[in-house]
Amino acid sequence: MNDWAASAAGGALIGLGAAILMWSVGRIAGISGIASGALEGARGDRAWRIAFLAGMMIAGAVALQFLPAPPRAQTGSTPLLIVAGLLVGFGTRVGNGCTSGHGVCGLARLSKRSLVAVVTFMAAAFASAFVMNHVSVWP
């Protein structure tokens, strides 16, 4: 399977997983919200979140072992990764969603809010990736 076919097939599985979660328990498959709720949410609302995340992490990690091109060794700058992590955690909490919640599920249900969020975070990501690669000040 070439890269593009694998990407489309992977994307289709992401959409299918999101569909099953909505069909069964009526929830949006937004990972930032599921994860923060799993840690800080109401007690009675945690089990399904933990189950979803466990399935995603374990099955994803196992699947990576069988793929012809596993993620290459990653050795990014530690301060950069910490700053990026803080921004991603902070921004997704404030904006109520990430690539999955707004991107996949929000666009799929034609949410205006999600469309605005996606356009905004894509534009910001293109800009910051450009600055990173061309005006980089990181060690």
Binding site: A59, A63, I82, R93, G95, G97
Partner: protein, 137 residues
């Protein structure tokens, strides 16, 4: 385990295999898409297009039902208000995503797969979310 939790586990597993297969766990593939000036890598666009297409068709069918199959109700945001909070949050998320190429789903799979950079990123991500939860109500 209840049927609802079992269904969530299965949905998560399929979602996770999709993230792995689509190579989104490799942050360099994501950065290759976000940096249009280098060797542009369009994979992320295929992933998003396929995911949105499948979810959009499925949601249309699912929302014909009065309620989810395993009980409860559909928990979908009702508001259509576009406010500063939404735009500012999305912009901050986008900056962080463009810096490292990690977003919440793929990076959690990276943690389970023992990817070094994911182990550094994820504690900071949860800290950032916790701080936002304290500041914004």
């Amino acid at each position: 385990m209840t049927r609802a939790n079992l269904a969530s586990l299965a949905a998560g597993a399929i979602f996770g295999v999709g993230l792995a297969l689509s190579a989104m766990v490799d942050r360099h593939v994501v950065l290759g898409f976000l940096d249009v000036t280098g060797h542009w890598n369009p994979r992320l666009a295929f992933v998003m297009a396929a995911a949105v297409a499948v979810a959009a068709v499925a949601y249309r069918l699912i929302f014909r039902r009065p309620a989810p199959a395993l009980g409860g109700e559909f928990r979908v945001p009702k508001t259509d208000v576009i406010d500063v909070r939404l735009v500012a949050g999305a912009a901050i998320f986008g900056v962080g995503w463009g810096l490292a190429g990690f977003c919440p789903g793929p990076v959690l799979v990276g943690v389970a797969a023992g990817v070094r950079d994911a182990w550094i990123f994820v504690p900071a991500m949860f800290a950032g979310s916790w701080i936002a939860g304290r500041l914004v109500r």
